[in-house]
């Protein structure tokens, strides 16, 4: 009997079909042949009925664990009078892929995980701080550049709108204040520059059309210089007249010197006449940098040209695009160098003497030392 059922076991295990024909099924066959009910087995072996059913139907995963599968199988086989080892062997062949050893995952206390996580957070914070500092410094550097450019408009804020159509609207407010101080307190850039845009914006051909509006603007802007300026503008007469007009204006002595300078400078070719024509106008108001009395060197633009003046430590002192006729009065300091993007459009004037053109139009020149004596010697050498 036992051997017969063992043979049957192996046969059943070797031929798996759609219906479960494995070791459990053969146990069931043997049990039914013995005329035993499942409840009998359950009450004798104390194995719960669902587990026995699971064994008979081959649902071994429903049993609590590998050790219990083999334990229950052994008991069941023994109870039925089969050879337990034979049954177990059949089962193992059948379920060779079944996990024999359970994976042991011990419950781990949480705090152990938290420590590295804290370090991670700290590290991330430090890293974020470093990145932010670097970024901030970079931004600072950028902003520094911005401020350099904007420093001039801030200084002369009221002047920029003058060159633009919207100017009249914005101007009136600062303007009244300026004239009050301008003649007496500060013969400085303010009043002269106030007129710059007018002059520069008013080239000869356009002058006629510009004239009506500009006087109005200038009238609002600067009551004191205005009486002189509008006639000059509106008449749009040759340079000498403009010069005289500006001279006639109640401008401070700085302007007077400026105009004399332009007069002296303006004898060269006729082509420069237009430029020089604007010069007086600009000399009256349109200049940057220090006051005229302080500056020995002027950088004048005969054509729109970008210039940059650097100090001894390579720091930027002045950077701007000079429009035709605008000028920059170089502070009396040592070690200043000039960089220009349009050598042909820039003229250097030292103590009222104009140097020859620095180079061709559109040529970039850099490292021109703004030292009056050296420039003079260079000039005399060239002349000689």
């Amino acid at each position: 009997m036992t051997t017969q059922s063992a043979n049957q076991l192996t046969a059943a295990g070797a031929a798996p079909e759609e219906r479960y024909e494995g070791v459990g099924h053969s146990l069931k066959v043997v049990r039914e042949r013995r005329g035993l009910a499942l409840t009998d087995v359950s009450s004798r072996l104390r194995i719960r009925r669902p587990y026995l059913e699971a064994i008979e139907e081959g649902r071994f995963s429903e049993l609590p664990g590998a050790v219990y599968i083999s334990g229950f199988l052994r008991q069941y086989a023994e109870f039925l009078g089969l050879d337990p080892e034979q049954v177990l062997k059949t089962y193992q062949a059948e379920a060779s892929d079944a996990p024999h050893r359970p994976v042991l995952n011990f419950p781990m206390p949480r705090p152990e995980e938290r420590t590295p996580r804290l370090w991670l957070v700290m590290g991330a914070l430090v890293l974020a701080g470093i990145v932010y500092t670097l970024w901030y410094r970079h931004q600072e550097a950028l902003r520094f550049g911005h401020e350099l450019i904007q420093a001039v408009p801030a200084h002369l804020a009221d002047l920029i709108p003058a060159s633009q159509p919207i100017a009249p609207a914005t101007l009136p407010q600062p303007a009244p204040a300026a004239p009050l101080t301008a003649p007496a307190v500060a013969p400085s850039p303010e009043p002269p520059v106030a007129a710059v845009p007018q002059a520069s914006v008013a080239p000869p051909p356009a002058a006629a059309t510009d004239a009506p509006s500009l006087p109005a603007a200038s009238a609002v802007v600067a009551p004191s210089p205005a009486p002189a300026a509008p006639p000059a503008e509106s008449s749009e007469q040759p340079q000498t007249e403009t010069a005289s007009a500006t001279d006639a204006a109640p401008a401070p002595e700085a302007e007077a010197t400026a105009s004399t300078e332009t007069a002296a400078v303006s004898d060269p070719p006729a082509t420069e006449a237009a430029a020089s024509a604007t010069d007086p106008a600009s000399s009256a108001p349109a200049s940057y940098g220090v006051s005229e009395s302080e500056a020995r060197i002027r950088v004048e633009a005969t054509a729109p040209s970008w210039i940059q003046v650097r100090g001894p430590n390579n720091e930027q002192i002045f950077t701007r695009l000079l429009n035709t006729g605008e000028r920059y009065l170089v502070p009396n300091r040592e070690g200043l160098t000039l960089l220009t993007g349009n050598a042909g459009g820039v003229r250097i004037v030292v103590d009222g003497q104009a140097l020859p053109a620095l180079g061709a139009s559109g040529e970039v020149k850099r490292g021109i030392v703004l030292d009056p004596e050296r420039l003079k010697t260079a000039m005399t050498e060239q002349q000689g």
């Binding site: 072996l45 104390r46 194995i47 719960r48 609590p64 664990g65 590998a66 050790v67 219990y68 083999s70 334990g71 229950f72 052994r74 008991q75 177990l88 024999h100 050893r101 359970p102 042991l104 995952n105 011990f106 419950p107």
Partner: protein, 347 residues
């Protein structure tokens, strides 16, 4: 780093230091040694020397001349003879450990859950002086449960009964720890003693321990056969009445009768453990039942007796004799994840 290097060079081992048998599991190689825990010592003009250890010594047990002493250094699961136990551990470590490796091995030894701190300390000291670099201890029921393949880390109760040579450990485990454990000093040795006492009392025949063990292994049964007297075997010993060697036939029913007392003690221990089990764990155990490990699990009909006494399904683990060694070995292999079950007093 250094310890990892040392671990690479030395063959770490797990030792199931049992009362009856000592099994040694070497990392990466499995169980490499399974020998009786017996040491034969010769007394050479007052100087004690180890004559034999293991199988060889076991054959000498009870058959020694005056100058040789065959000793079982462990009694009731703990070290009884410190020096001899140390010699035995040293011998087994040397036998297993590769001579060419410089480093001394890390050793995990299992101890009965009921052993005292002094007994644990004695085992650790023995292993250390036997050449272990570091000694960890693991409690026997945990090792047995891991070795049997019980899902000890799951949040479900599992009951394991490990019947060793000296002690029987009953434990309920869940979530990687021992919820309840009970260690009774009843095991294979007590069964042998019971057989000896029964035969002497009823048949006036004195048999040796080795014979008693053989009887137990061959026809031992926890419960008398349902009908008849069951198997029988010839036993030889010395007649107490007239002092001559004698041979007689003993049957399974008689042995079952003789074993009633130690088996009753085991059943009692299991019942007490069940009484102390929390209801949720008890519910889990009703489903899955009890798993028997250890050599005592091989005693015929013991599962039947326990099933009747407790009303629970009782399964015998595969390879019950090596469950503890396999579990200790697994703790060695997976020392990182199983470090929680190791016991190592800091010093």
């Amino acid at each position: 780093m250094f310890s990892r290097l040392m671990g690479f060079m030395s063959a770490d081992m797990a030792i199931d230091l049992g009362t009856a048998n000592t099994l040694v599991y070497v990392k990466g190689r499995g169980i490499v040694l399974n020998e009786p825990s017996v040491v034969a010592i010769t007394n050479n003009r007052g100087k004690k020397q180890v004559l034999a250890v293991g199988d060889e010594a076991k054959q000498m047990l009870g058959r020694t001349p005056g100058n040789i002493e065959a000793i079982r250094p462990l009694r009731d699961g703990v070290i009884a003879d410190f020096e001899v136990a140390e010699e035995m551990i040293k011998h087994f470590i040397r036998k297993v450990h590769n001579r060419r490796s410089f480093a001394s091995p890390q050793v995990i030894i299992c101890v009965p859950s009921g052993s005292t701190a002094v007994e644990r300390r004695a085992i650790m000291d023995s292993a250390e002086s036997a050449g272990a670099r570091r000694v960890f201890l693991i409690e026997e029921p945990m090792a047995a449960a891991i070795g049997a393949g019980l899902p000890v880390t799951e949040p479900t109760g599992s009951m394991v009964v490990d019947i060793g040579g000296g002690t029987t450990e009953v434990a309920v485990l869940s979530l990687g720890g021992i919820v309840y454990s009970r260690s009774v000093r009843v095991g294979g040795d007590k069964m042998d003693e019971a057989i000896i006492a029964y035969i002497r009392r009823n048949h006036n025949l004195l048999v040796g321990e080795a014979s008693a063990e053989r009887i137990k292994k061959q026809i031992g049964s926890a419960a008398p056969p349902e009908d008849g007297n069951g198997l029988s075997m010839e036993i030889k010993g010395r007649d107490l009445m007239n002092g001559v060697p004698k041979e007689l036939v003993i049957n399974q029913r008689q042995i079952a009768e003789s074993l009633a007392e130690p088996v009753g003690a085991i059943v009692e221990a299991v019942k007490v453990a069940l009484e102390h089990t929390a209801p949720e764990l008890a519910a889990d155990i009703v489903d899955k039942g009890i798993v028997l490990t250890g050599g005592g699990a091989l005693l015929g009909n013991l599962d039947l007796v326990l099933r009747h006494a407790t009303g629970l399904p009782v399964s015998i683990a595969d390879e019950p004799l090596s469950c503890v060694a396999l579990g200790t070995g697994r703790a060695l292999e997976e020392m990182k994840t199983l470090k929680h079950v190791l016991y190592n007093p800091p010093y």
